[in-house]
């Protein structure tokens, strides 16, 4: 295992249904993302990008193949090799097209909850959440509920939440789709900053061709297969 890798996937295959209704969503995908690296996954709708992302996010196990995150083998086919929920808690961060902030928690609490889930004491979690919001430039909106934040601010809080537990890997699914180009660029720069400063691997599924120069490498998916 390569300990400098944020994630390695080997021959990942996902098949939905069986018999006549069988659909191969992903076939023999191999990928390695180094720590501190930001990569893009491109491809048309239905190409299997989200399937790969959810498989790497340990929320939709593959039918076959292996996943190693931060040097730890976590999935062998559909078979979990670790407690997946606990592993997600410690090692993965997620950012989506919608920020998916919890509406009854304010910005700082949305970050704090990710830390408290990881058994960080409340006072320390609050302090760390404020630090992250400050790092991402939304400290002045810390006490605001999500519906009082702009789309860009919400997405920054979501990124702060994803970073809270210093994950080995951040998975982002169309994180700029709901943002204007300026804010989209800001978020992508944020991912680069996080990856380079904190050594996390970042995988971004995107359709946004304008942001391609923000990535270290780009991959294209088509018909469930990955190509550079």
């Amino acid at each position: 295992m390569n300990t400098t890798s944020a994630i390695e996937v080997f021959n990942l295959t996902k098949v939905y249904g069986c018999g006549n209704t069988e659909v191969v969503a992903m076939k023999d995908v191999n990928l390695r993302v180094a720590k501190g690296e930001v990569i893009a996954l491109l491809g048309p709708s239905g190409a299997g990008k989200s399937t790969l992302l959810t498989a790497m996010g340990l929320i939709n196990p593959p039918t076959a193949g292996r996943i190693v995150i931060g040097g730890v083998p976590v999935l062998d086919g559909p078979q979990p090799l670790v407690n997946l929920r606990a592993f997600r808690r410690h090692h993965l961060g997620f950012v989506f097209q919608k920020a998916n902030l919890i509406p009854f928690l304010n910005a700082v609490q949305n970050v704090q909850v990710a830390l408290e889930i990881n058994d960080v004491p409340t006072r320390h979690a609050r302090h760390r959440a404020r630090e992250l919001l400050d790092y991402l430039g939304v400290a002045d909106r810390a006490e605001n509920l999500p519906d009082a934040l702009s789309g860009g601010q919400q997405q920054r809080v979501a990124v702060a939440r994803a970073l809270a537990n210093e994950p080995a890997l951040i998975l982002a699914d169309e994180p700029t789709a709901a943002l204007d180009s300026h804010r989209g660029r800001q978020v992508m720069e944020l991912f680069r900053k996080v990856a380079h400063e904190r050594g996390a691997g970042v995988i971004v599924v995107t359709h946004d061709q304008r942001a391609l120069n923000a990535f270290d490498r780009t991959f294209e998916m088509e018909d469930g297969q990955l190509s550079t």
């Binding site: 929920r85 997600r88 009854f104």
Partner: protein, 403 residues
């Protein structure tokens, strides 16, 4: 950070309204047990307070409360002769409904054995016990009569000399205490024509009996006042209350009296059983069943509310699961809200009940054990009703966030 508290704070209005709804339901549950307990307390108020060890009633009856009992008043003299009996007093009980201030006035008339019993044992809140043999009464506050108020019964004017609180019959009518003689006068108040017809009928009855033929003077008396002819007059009292001498064997006294062919005897506990398991038994069971139904309905409503609250948060729960939240954290969120909802509902039920129940026409008696019992029931239904929401939350897949 407490997620349940944060969620409630965010949806405070909806949560408060839901708690009020649950509180109203629980208040009805509390009210049902209060009505039940009040009914028992009302039924036993005289038996508990009058201080009688035994009740002697008409043979074969379960009187004087559960059914009508008629006894000659002079039976009390016979009872006083029984070894172990300290006192024997006449007792009269019947209902009357008259017009007063243009409204129906329904009361339970109790006759006290003047002068031995002036009603010192009743729960007076104003005035005094009976102070004369006639034309005075003690009225319960539920009758709406005031101290010093005058009422006319059977052609005589009675003055309210005392006012009691909480002294009502098992039927919910306020009790008015008179002397036995006055209670009888009210009970047997007849019009002039009815009196003349009764006297004529009485003479005819006497003619047909040996005593009438053997003592012709009785025929002459039969045409006069009823009180002048007790042997042929109507039955006089409802029961005789017996108090035993200190150290007397109650079983032996009861055995002696029960051997008489014209009377039945009930101990104090026996009288309580007759009331609780006979007279108010069906009402008691009906209230009990309603209470059970209401508890079930409250559980179902709470479960549906909590299920709906959980559905509203299903996306957030999926997000928490995606972040790796433990099941105990998510179950705790729902369970804490259920318990808080139950606790608030209980508090609202308690406060509203304390305000509303005294305004009910019949007594609603909420005992501490009823409150504790309801608190336990609320905890149980809160836990049960949260299970549906927890079940739903446990089934949510983390990838629901992507939907």
């Amino acid at each position: 950070m407490n997620l349940a508290a944060q969620d409630i704070r965010h949806n405070l209005g909806r949560f408060a309204l839901t708690a009020v709804g649950i509180g109203l339901l629980l208040m009805i549950v509390l009210g049902m047990s209060g009505i039940y307990r009040g009914m028992i307390d009302d039924a036993l108020v005289v038996v508990d307070h009058i201080g009688a060890d035994s009740w002697v009633v008409q043979r074969g009856t379960r009187g004087p409360f559960a059914e009508i009992s008629r006894l000659p008043a002079n039976l009390e003299h016979r009872l006083r002769a029984v070894p172990g009996v300290a006192s024997a007093r006449s007792f009269v009980s019947h209902n009357v409904q008259r017009e007063h201030r243009g409204k129906p006035l329904r009361m339970n008339v109790h006759g006290l054995a003047w002068p031995e019993d002036k009603g010192e044992w009743v729960n007076l809140i104003a005035g005094r016990p009976l102070s004369q043999a006639h034309y005075e009464m003690i009225a319960d506050t539920s009758l709406g009569l005031e101290l010093g108020e005058k009422l006319v019964f059977a052609g005589d004017t009675y003055t309210v000399g005392g006012v009691t609180k909480g002294m009502v019959s098992s039927g919910g009518d306020g009790i008015a205490f008179f002397t036995v003689r006055d209670a009888q006068a009210i009970q047997f108040d007849l019009s002039g024509e009815a009196t003349r017809l009764e006297r004529a009928a009485r003479v005819q009855r006497a003619v047909g009996q040996d005593i009438g033929r053997a003592q012709p003077l009785l025929l002459e008396r039969g045409a006069g006042l009823s009180s002048g002819l007790p042997a042929l007059g109507p039955p006089m009292v409802s029961a005789i209350t017996v108090r035993l001498a200190e150290g007397a064997d109650s079983g032996a006294v009861a055995k002696t009296v029960a051997a008489w062919p014209d009377v039945s005897v009930h101990t104090r506990d026996g009288q309580v059983q007759l009331l609780v398991h006979g007279m108010i038994d069906k009402a008691r069971r009906q209230l009990g069943l309603f209470r059970i139904l209401l508890v079930i309905i409250s559980t179902i409503i709470m479960a549906l509310i909590l299920y709906t609250l959980t559905l509203d948060k299903i996306h957030d729960i999926a997000m928490l699961k995606l972040m790796g939240a433990r099941n105990s954290m998510i179950a705790g969120l729902i369970l804490q809200q259920a318990l808080l909802l139950g606790a608030l509902g209980f508090g609202i039920a308690w406060c509203l009940g304390a305000w509303v129940f005294p305004k009910f026409p019949r007594r609603v008696l909420v005992a501490p054990e009823d409150l504790w019992g309801l608190a336990v029931v609320v905890v149980i239904i809160s836990v049960l009703s949260s299970l549906l929401g927890i079940w739903k939350a446990m089934r949510v897949a983390p990838n629901k966030v992507l939907a």
